[in-house]
Amino acid sequence: MDDETREIVSSFVAESREAIDEVEPLLIEMSASGEAPNADVIARVFRLFHSMKGSASYLQFGSIERITHRAETVLVDLRTGTAAPTPALVEALCQVLDAVRARLAQVMETGIDEDESGELERLGFSLEEISRRSVPSGVESVTPVPTVARASVATPIVLSAVTVATPVSESPSAVVVLPLVAEEAVAAPEAHAVAAPSEARHADESTTDGVSLADLVEPFIIEGRDLLDACEQALLSLETDGEASGPVATAFRALHSFKGNCGFLGYVEIERLAHAAETLLEAVKEGEVPRSPDVIGALLTSVDALRTAVSRLPGDSSFPEGAIRAAALVQVESDARGVMGQTRIGRILIERGDINASDLVEALDADRAPVGTVLAERGLVTPARLDAALGEQAQRRGVTARAEARQVEKPQTSLRVDVGKLDALMDLVGELIIAETAVIHAPSSHGAVSSQELPKALAQLDRITRSLQDVAMSLRMVPIDATFRKMIRVVRDVANKQGKQVALRVEGEETEVDKTVAEIIGDPLVHLLRNAVDHGIEMPEVRAARGKPVEGTLKLTASHVGGEIWVRIQDDGGGISRTRVLEKAVERGLVTAAAAPSLSDADVFAFIFEAGFSTAAAVTDISGRGVGMDVVKRQIERVKGRIDIASVPEQGTTITLRIPLTLAIIEGMVVRVGDTSFTIPLLCIRESVVPRSKDVTHLADGEEIVRIRGQLLSVLRMHRFYGIEPLHERLEDGILVVVEDGGQAVCLFVDELIGQRQTVIKGLSGFLGDPRSLSGCTVLGDGRISLILDVAGLIGAVPRAA
């Protein structure tokens, strides 16, 4: 695939994915609301399939093209009111969207659209079937009344493009070729009054909306036969004189016209074969493919098939058996020299001359077993030759895979950015350049004469770099909206599967989070929501018995709190039973029965995150054996976040994910404890004091309390906590840094304050496990490493002040 095509594929996949993500929740909402179908939504869904079909066709993604075509047809029916958006139909559409999504991922990776399992085809048929049955109540299955404006009788429409006068065989293209006939008496559509509406739109049948089609079919058949004859003649002369260039061009033009006409009339199957043949012919024309007897034979066979198909019109445009074979033949020939499919074993065998094309077609026809095996079984290739070819395939695959892996863009590495942010960035860069100049040219202090210029310029530079940093970081921020939207479907599916009724309410979806965070919390959210529906929300009967509304509510909210993003999942379900969790915990030896009562609710619920923990009486296939929660916790920790659980029995559970706002940069106070450097997030620091001995109270158990501005606070001796040899032992000799989190404060005793720094956070390698109360580390200007404190964790570790 050349770069440009790859770019187009990339855009196509990104664009389609986005559209699917946007449209899916709308579809679901529409079916749930039970009101009249929303025309706007239907229009959007239609456009989604329509656009996808167009590009898929160009990019030769056959199965995507076919299914989007079918879906598009269904959407038209929805639009005209011929079909109604019943839950079944919406479900079918959602399944189609799912399958298409998966196919897009595959296409993105391999550049090929292979529907080996036939899944897309099946879904397509299924969709049509359901659509046919989704007739709005009160309306009979009836052909839609054509709403086309009829041309006034007897007025020929003159085209400035190709007109009737031009001999048809010389005007090849998919441009309107046939004369537009003024509509006089339109052939009454009795023929399809019985047909169900969607059938009337099937491209491979000979009827459309019943607008003077009969008038157009006749010329098509006549011209078609002429074109095919011309093509055949040209091909035959090629057989005898392989070198001539004239005949190839003639054959190509004829086939090309023919194909265009098929498209015009909507004979998709015939068009497809014509297209395949045309592609091969083009390759011959360009000299990419030799004019071997095999190739010409394949082309002639396809012309035959086309002729047969045409002869069956207008009644029956189904494809005769042999024609399918011809199509396969041509396809194989094309494929064998095609750009894609370079590593297919069939192609390799043909290239090595071990088999010929019709052998391959036979093998492909026969079985679902690997082509190579079938060929060997039928003695069409010797095992030794097959092995050699397989070896070559492996080699090519290795190269291709690596090449593709290097080149194929994964959509996640690109980002949609608010243009305003980019403008701000550009402005700042401009200012930066100016400020830099000012610094370079500022007269600096020499001796006694001090100048204000340099410090001023430096201050300005500093201001600009900070702003620049802010904007650059904000570029990575995306609304959490996209992640939340995906949850609508998840909740719906789980609720449906379980026979529960759940409504998902989303708030704060415009809240911006770092791109990485948005990506990483997707999975944990899915799991948590599934859990909430599965274990949280009760069955409708139970809810009714408890006096709750039958429909359960799940609230998913996002907000900025302090320097963090809080994502909350709230359900009004049965809550978590403290007793059950404790039972399980005691059972697993996580806590002794004696210690149990003194644990706070939060501590009890924290046990849920232990691996393998599950209090569910029955393991459902949805949430699994409780293996999920510990994974969820780890995933949240990956983004330096934490999870809090609160629950009230019978009323509901609230799970809060707290994730730091910026992953990358921290504004912190660097302190020294012995030989170790720590960085305390500035946001958490209330103040720093040098204590006086009279403000310090020593408790019997060794704990120290300090009185600061009237408040009594516990002291945490950092050196003792972390096992470091300190510089100072007495509190009065060192510094107390008062830090707080969530309303609780504590004093950290350190040796020295080094200063305020803004630095880049680096994670402490996962290899180190989970050092208590450290949320990472940072590299200071002198290359030393400073450990970043997790204040919330620290505070949690301190015994509460009396």
Binding site: G54, S57, Y58, S173, V176
Partner: protein, 122 residues
């Protein structure tokens, strides 16, 4: 031919059309893009393209409505539709509204060349 305006709400499709336009020999033309009928209208008024290649189905304003609007303006540049909608009624509609041609997707180099040739001949 100096300036060609391509109107389609799908970026992938615009890329495809632009590429085909280049392959058809119009590589040294300026290519301008618009994402829907309304934008297209503004573009025609502002930039006076020598040729407009327009999709049929678009949000905001469809290709057909755009053409009608241009008719009302009294300023219709050479205008062609590129669309999957190949049904006869659409074609009739398009041509009556003043389109010079309607190309049914797949949109090929040859189709474009023919259409342009046909346009010039008329």
């Amino acid at each position: 031919m100096n300036r060609i305006l391509i109107i389609d709400d799908s970026k992938a499709m615009r890329m495809i059309v632009a590429r085909t336009v280049r392959q058809a020999g119009f590589g040294d033309c300026t290519i301008v893009e618009a994402t829907n009928g309304a934008e297209g209208l503004a573009a025609v008024r502002a930039q006076a393209p020598d040729l407009v290649l327009c999709d049929w189905n678009m949000p905001e304003m469809s290709g057909y409505d755009l053409l009608e609007a241009l008719n009302a303006d009294g300023n219709v540049p050479p205008f062609g539709f590129i669309t999957s909608e190949g049904t006869p009624d659409i074609k009739i509609k398009a041509l009556k509204a003043g389109a010079s041609f309607l190309i049914v997707k797949p949109f090929t180099v040859a189709a474009l060349q023919d259409a342009v040739r046909g346009m010039k001949a008329a």
